[in-house]
Symmetry: C2
Subunit: 251 residues, 2 copies
Amino acid sequence: MVSKSQIKLITSLQLKKYRNEHQLFIAEGVKVIQELILSNLVLEHLFMTEAIFEDVIISKKTLVTEQDMKRISALSSPSPCLAIFKIPKPSKIENKGLIVALDDIRDPGNLGTIIRLCDWFGVKQLVCSPETVDVYNPKVIQATMGSITRVNINYVDLNVFISETMLPVFGTFMHGNNIYNEKLPNEAILILGNEANGISSRIEKSIKNKIAIPRFPSAVGNASCGDIQQTESLNVATATAIFLSEFRRIS
Amino acid sequence: MVSKSQIKLITSLQLKKYRNEHQLFIAEGVKVIQELILSNLVLEHLFMTEAIFEDVIISKKTLVTEQDMKRISALSSPSPCLAIFKIPKPSKIENKGLIVALDDIRDPGNLGTIIRLCDWFGVKQLVCSPETVDVYNPKVIQATMGSITRVNINYVDLNVFISETMLPVFGTFMHGNNIYNEKLPNEAILILGNEANGISSRIEKSIKNKIAIPRFPSAVGNASCGDIQQTESLNVATATAIFLSEFRRIS
């Protein structure tokens, strides 16, 4: 049975403040938890409903009722298990290879999807501005599907980071150079900006290579009619997918 | 003031059954509603809180309290406006250009993101299997950011559709041919499958060209250690982004 103090601890971990204080985070769902256990993360405790409790052979486990699972879960439809893990210390940034840097990404789903994309495209380093959503936010953990253990994630001042690197720096802008015409290096820093405002002007100053995904058709022509409309922008996670694909494709 | 019968109607429109019965759908948020009004959609009624009511000059409007807005909204943080629109009749499918076909996409956010991608990449036709989530689901409308009015969307039996087209048919699979090595035509049908199961075997039989996004590094080598793990798959919306980018890029 889950105790009152455990319920208090677990629900507090939905907030960054308490995750930092306790150096713990929560994960939900069989598949995500399995992947995290198989990696080097330290499991603190596992809470399970009757549906799967007997099947899991592990010492640090507690049986909870479905009602209690609803109380401790951050999900609208709770899974049969919830785990508490220790937050690992991030490794130092290795300044090589392709590195993705995020300037103020706010949506947890976007950050989770970007981490999964980094994993797919062999990007080992993800660097986030301090304003970027916390990687141990439960919604980020849910969206990464376990990729979080295979990408090294650091929160740093991006301007300091850029000033210290020898790698070429690429930033994504609405009016950058056509990505399809660029010769892209194997080693680089690729910066993506905030969902609403893009890369901040503070960071923009340090970026030499501005790139963009052109709309199709790339030249709409000088049509005089006013009814040609098109979507204003791509979602930052889908844009990241296309930029990483361009950096990694065999041309 | 919003009446009891209006509240009943609006909340019922969160379900496909009642959207079909009334041939109406709801949209929330200033920007989305603005885009829908500017397109050819027929506005049935607009509900607004005091925050913006006086600023909007339109006859079919009703002032609602913030409390009532919470009752009629499908969002956890309601916007100051909610609109009811008539569901337009889809145009007939034009069998030309690049057409995206979806086999049983269940997540409204994914469908919305894919519609936005179609808009960005100039895909005018989206064809969905009958099991695919309803395009007038409020969460889809939210995610499309207005792109829904620029893409013609039909729900049809995909096998019948494929059997009747003269266009080459491409399907996306985990173990298809490397997309980066394929010569892709300007006119084609691109099929994407369900989030968990991919393209169904029933549809797979009709697909001649199987394509895939390779993981990086594409050849992991014959490493004998068992700890090389990588994410199993890409989210269907990010995969769509990469496939459409490849079809549309200037090579």
